[in-house]
Amino acid sequence: MARSLANIIYKGAAAFPAARSTASGSFYQGIFRFSTSVPNDPDTHEDFRPTTKGGSSGLSLKDIVEQDVKENPVMIYMKGVPELPRCGFSALAVRVLKEYNVPLSARNILEDLELKTAVKGFSHWPTFPQIFIKGEFVGGSDIIVSMHQSGELKEKLKDVAGKQQ
């Protein structure tokens, strides 16, 4: 509890760097002193690293990946964003998936090296893009193209597409 409270306050503080470095410095020190789970240097703890995820506090990157693939029927970790891929393979995978008119969730791993590492560790797959369908890792762009050609992808996305209609 202390940890998440500290996190919230820290985030608030980060939004106002001037305030943090001046009058309120001792206040935050106090918070950290009473918190048992926060290490001495808050800047190195993963809860306190800059985050672009907007997820709830206290989640590790692995938790975030797990949550991503569980909650999003079609999840792609890619270079760039679906509207503007930064790699030909990512572009190809997005183009194939868009054929099926399914809700596509994406994260840009170029923006977050730690997320990139976490995804690689989660899937044990060395390259990007990486595509997960209904929680299952299906592979990269070669595999998605191959599944598209064989009809396997259509079969896999059948009920996903149905939900959206």
Binding site: G88, W125, T127, F137
Partner: protein
């Protein structure tokens, strides 16, 4: 000249590693790094776009009974040293001899 020699060496290392482990009936390794010369991740690397992207086509009986993810994993595992030393991406076609035979029919 130096870059050309280096390109040959990675391609031939890939070839040797896959050939030995997979006893491939067909094995084609094509360096397509030049196609990705402007790639963000490649630009950031020292020395620019050299030996980073390859197309690999493998026909091997060892792929029998393995789905695509497993086949690709087999290839990635064999090439993990390369992936850790600057090999950036592989485009992999992995088929069994019988699947490859179907493909070549008119």
């Amino acid at each position: 000249m130096a870059s050309r020699m280096a390109a040959i060496s990675r391609a031939s290392r890939i070839k040797t590693k896959l050939e030995t482990a997979l006893q491939a009936a067909v094995l084609e390794v094509e360096d397509v790094s030049h196609q990705h010369a402007g790639h963000a991740a490649v630009r950031e690397m020292e020395g620019g776009a050299q030996e980073t992207h390859f197309n690999v086509r493998i026909v091997s009986a060892k792929f029998h009974g393995q789905n695509l993810v497993k086949r690709h994993r087999m290839v990635y595992e064999l090439l993990s040293d390369e992936l850790n030393s600057g090999l950036h991406a592989l485009s992999i076609t992995a088929k069994t001899p019988s699947e490859a035979a179907v493909d070549t029919q008119p």
